[in-house]
């Protein structure tokens, strides 16, 4: 039987962790459970949910920072910021349900990373409940700070294995005045990625540069820009020129923003088969995408081409899906990147692991850090790539 805990505040959360450590009871750490599919899930004695540790703690609009409790829904924070004409420049999947703590713990980025930075770049302070029941602050509420170690970075993507994020502070921005978008199709992957590459190197700083491919369809490029009116107009004309230079055909562009939202939500939609996610050096994307599209089980590819994050959804026969997933992980590693099976159907859980069987670089240090922060090994045992 799993015990469910919903601590009311940071102190109660810390006490819950201390109790579990003392009794060696394993714990799942969850917010809204929107990414419960991530990693290797083992049954735990306790499920601790942060949903009651919620709310905006501090927001001084003129400082362009916001501090929120870890269990605050992302959407609630976004609404609070919007009332002040501001936004957190982060577009994570599951943005409608996810909590801030979950977004940080899962390093959940969308397509805006190249333009504004990712979770690790926007997060400037955290308060963590640790396994021994202590509460530790790292970073602060100012945009520049090198006092002490950057524990904020350590906790991004740690999947609850090092502690519980009970509070977080982010840099935010004013909502831009204007936006524009463009979609285009290309006959070949090389052309689509070359157009994306031209924009990555171009003078205009696009907000999103995304490549989409569905089985049997053309390669599609979606570009979004936001900013003041003159820069957005320029961004759009730069995008149109890059498309024309690479023989793409522009499509009617009324609805690029909502298309980008749909593509960003691929992890939410990919409930069957396997969704492989690779982080690649930029120039390795084209070959990776081409070989992905040739797989028997290939269904959909979505690439944040400006950051080198490529997702491939494989469906169909379990054998073909498993073979394809393993091939993609190997391909990612071969070019110096990394890959994971971000989501897979229940029937595939035994056949393919979530993590590349090759240990991540610096794994021995990760193990030591895990032991230092959670000596009893009670926090999300086995869930992350660290083990």
């Amino acid at each position: 039987m799993t015990t469910r805990l919903e601590p009311a505040d940071a102190d109660e959360c810390a006490r819950s962790l201390a109790g579990a450590s003392a009794e060696r009871r394993s714990m799942r750490i969850a917010g809204a459970l929107s990414k419960a599919y991530l990693g290797e899930l083992r049954a735990t004695d306790v499920e601790l949910r942060t949903v009651r540790i919620a709310g905006v703690v501090d927001h001084v609009p003129a400082d362009l920072t916001i501090t929120v409790a870890g269990g605050t829904p992302f959407a609630e924070m976004a609404a609070a910021l919007a009332r002040a004409g501001q936004f957190l420049p982060l577009d994570p999947p599951h943005a409608d349900r996810a909590t801030i703590g979950g977004v940080i713990a899962a390093n959940s980025n969308g397509f805006w990373r190249s333009r504004y930075g990712g979770v690790r770049d926007l997060l400037i302070g955290t308060r963590l409940a640790l396994a021994d029941g202590t509460l530790a602050r790292a970073g602060g509420r100012v945009v520049k700070n090198v006092a002490g170690y950057d524990l904020d970075k350590l906790v991004v993507g740690s999947l609850g294995t090092l502690g519980v994020i009970v509070e977080a502070t982010f840099k935010v921005l004013p909502i831009p005045a204007a936006s524009a978008g463009l979609s285009a199709t290309f006959a070949r992957a090389g052309e689509a990625f070359a157009a994306a590459d031209a924009l990555v190197r171009g003078a205009s700083r696009q907000e999103a540069i995304v490549i989409e491919r569905r089985s049997g369809a053309a390669w599609r490029l979606h570009v979004g820009a936001r900013g003041d009116r003159p820069t957005v107009a320029r961004a759009k004309s730069d995008a149109a020129r890059a498309v024309a230079d690479l023989r793409g055909s522009a499509e009617p562009a009324d609805d690029v923003a909502s298309r980008l939202v749909a593509l960003r939500e691929l992890p939410a939609a990919a409930i069957d088969g396997a969704l492989v996610r690779a982080a690649l050096p930029l120039a390795a994307q084209t070959a990776f995408a081409e070989s992905a599209a040739d797989l028997d089980a290939f269904t959909t590819l979505v690439a944040d081409a400006a950051s080198g994050i490529v997702r491939v959804h494989l469906r169909g026969d379990d054998d073909a899906v498993a073979t394809g997933a393993v091939a993609l992980l190997m391909a990612a590693r071969a070019v110096g990147g990394s890959g994971r099976v971000e989501r897979r159907a229940e029937s595939l859980r035994e056949r393919i692991g979530a993590w590349d069987p090759a240990e991540p670089r610096g794994h021995f240090l990760m193990k030591r850090l895990k032991d230092a922060f959670d000596p009893a090994g009670v926090l999300e045992p086995g869930r992350s790539a660290v083990g």
Partner: protein, 462 residues
């Protein structure tokens, strides 16, 4: 000496003298100085030191301002002067792979023909090394829009204090498992040595506008900073200088700064040409609304360079005011600028000290420079340090930090309890112990040490 061979070891007392100093006020003598040429050299020295329980203090160009390169507990100073090669410029992947001894500006110069640059631009960029930038998580004026060193590093090769070599991250934007690259950057040599760095390269902006705005008072300049930030324009840099700094800089650099202003702002916007005139007009309008007495747009690239040479030469120019200076590096929320600046000036004035302020106003990152002449006022350094402590306490009280880019080092490790409670420091200590269980990597830095910190009574300023 047998570990590396005679040519890579500094042997004589006189030759070791330079390694007793860096850009800070602290000094200490190393027991030996080594000049490794390869990662294997670094690992060999580390293994030797580990075996004999000897501390290792890594050193780049020695431009650090918090005593990070000072061997406060003795041991071996490891200079990276001979590991100074750019190993790869990878234009397709927008990355460069460098050795730690490469000078910051040399990298940007080397990649400029490709239309690229390395973003962090500390004022010492003509001398400081990328290994030092990684250790200190260095910033610079242009980090307001694009972030500091940690936002531009994707891969590292490190050597732990026991000689273990580890590769972390790579050329992709992230790696699996914990973000060890992000954890290591800014650790000030206390987690190990960095022997190779993979950095992001960024396309150069198409164009820029640099505006010099003069104000009668520092308050007006501070209010202008808040108003610009709130307006939605995100400048690449907003720098502020007070009258004393302006005078010192004008005497040495002749940047063309107005000498009668109480405070000046250097504001730069960059990006595509199309939006720049709009952005400049908005910034100038905000400056005027806040009482700017004069506005000047850099008309040519040469004029812009002069304006920046003045700002970047400001610390060096302090020599015009007095032979010695002591600089602090606190950070505050930007809305608190006017109030905290007043307290900064009071902290110095009440101790009979002269103070110049030249800093990254857009980030809220203060650089109060207290100037004095130790020959005439032997106790001035002590008074300056007292004022510094009071200033940092004010920064922390305002919700800020004791250091924005200079690092904690041995200069502010005793002040860490101002900003962090024992449980916070204990969490950081876990990281230290995971990387450096023997405690030989740059000891006496970052964390308060009982021996040196006993004399500091933080209660007085709390």
């Amino acid at each position: 000496m047998d570990v590396l061979g005679r040519g890579k070891v500094v042997a004589t007392r006189e030759d070791m003298l330079t390694y007793e100093y860096d850009g800070s006020a602290d000094t200490a003598s190393p027991d030996a100085v080594v000049l490794p040429e390869t990662t294997a050299d670094v690992a060999a020295v580390a293994r030797f030191c580990h075996e004999h329980g000897v501390p290792i203090v890594p050193r780049g160009a020695g431009t650090g301002l918090s005593g990070g390169a000072i061997p406060v507990e003795g041991g071996v100073v490891m200079s990276f002067a001979r590991m100074a090669r750019i190993l790869e410029i990878d234009v397709p992947n927008l990355r460069a792979v460098v050795q730690p001894g490469v000078v910051n500006l040399h990298l940007s110069t080397a990649v400029a023909p490709h239309g690229l640059y390395f973003v962090p631009d500390p004022s010492s960029q003509k001398a400081c090394t990328l290994g030092g930038n990684v250790a200190e998580n260095s910033g610079g004026p242009h980090t307001l829009a694009y972030g500091v060193t940690t936002n531009h590093v994707t891969g590292l090769e490190i050597v732990l204090s026991d000689g273990t070599i580890a590769r972390l991250g790579g050329k992709a934007v992230e790696d699996e498992g914990y973000d060890l690259v992000g954890t290591f950057v800014g650790s000030e040599g206390t987690l190990g040595m960095v022997t190779e760095i993979t950095v992001k390269l960024t396309p150069l902006a198409e164009d820029r506008r640099t505006v010099l705005a003069a104000f009668t008072t520092m308050d007006q300049a501070s209010e202008t900073v808040s108003a610009i930030i709130a307006s939605g324009v995100v400048p690449a840099a907003i720098e502020m200088m007070d009258n004393l700094s302006t005078q010192a800089v004008e005497e040495s650099v002749h940047a063309g700064y107005p000498l009668d202003a109480g405070g000046i702002l250097l504001v730069e916007v960059e990006g595509v040409r199309d939006g720049l005139e709009d952005a400049r007009e908005r910034i100038e309008a905000i400056c005027r609304a806040n009482g700017a007495s004069s506005l000047r747009l850099a008309a040519t690239a040469l004029e812009r360079e002069k304006l920046w040479a003045g700002r970047k030469g400001a610390f060096a120019a302090m020599g015009r005011l007095a032979p010695d200076y002591y600089v602090q590096d606190g950070v505050i929320p930007r809305t608190r600028l006017p109030e905290i600046l007043r307290r900064v000036n009071e902290a110095a004035a009440s101790r009979g000290l002269r103070i110049a302020n030249v800093f990254h106003a857009g980030d809220g990152n203060l650089h109060p420079l207290i100037v004095f002449d130790l020959r005439k006022e032997p106790d001035a350094l002590r008074r300056a340090q007292e004022a510094g402590l009071e200033i940092l306490a004010a920064c922390v009280e305002a919700g800020g930090s004791i250091t924005g880019e200079h690092g904690v080092g041995m200069e502010k490790n005793c002040f860490m309890p101002l900003q962090f409670r024992p449980d916070d420091l204990a969490a950081m200590r876990r990281v230290k112990d995971a990387f450096d269980p023997a405690g030989l990597a740059n000891p006496g830095k970052v964390f308060p040490t009982p021996s040196r910190c006993r004399e500091f009574s933080l209660g007085a300023v709390r």
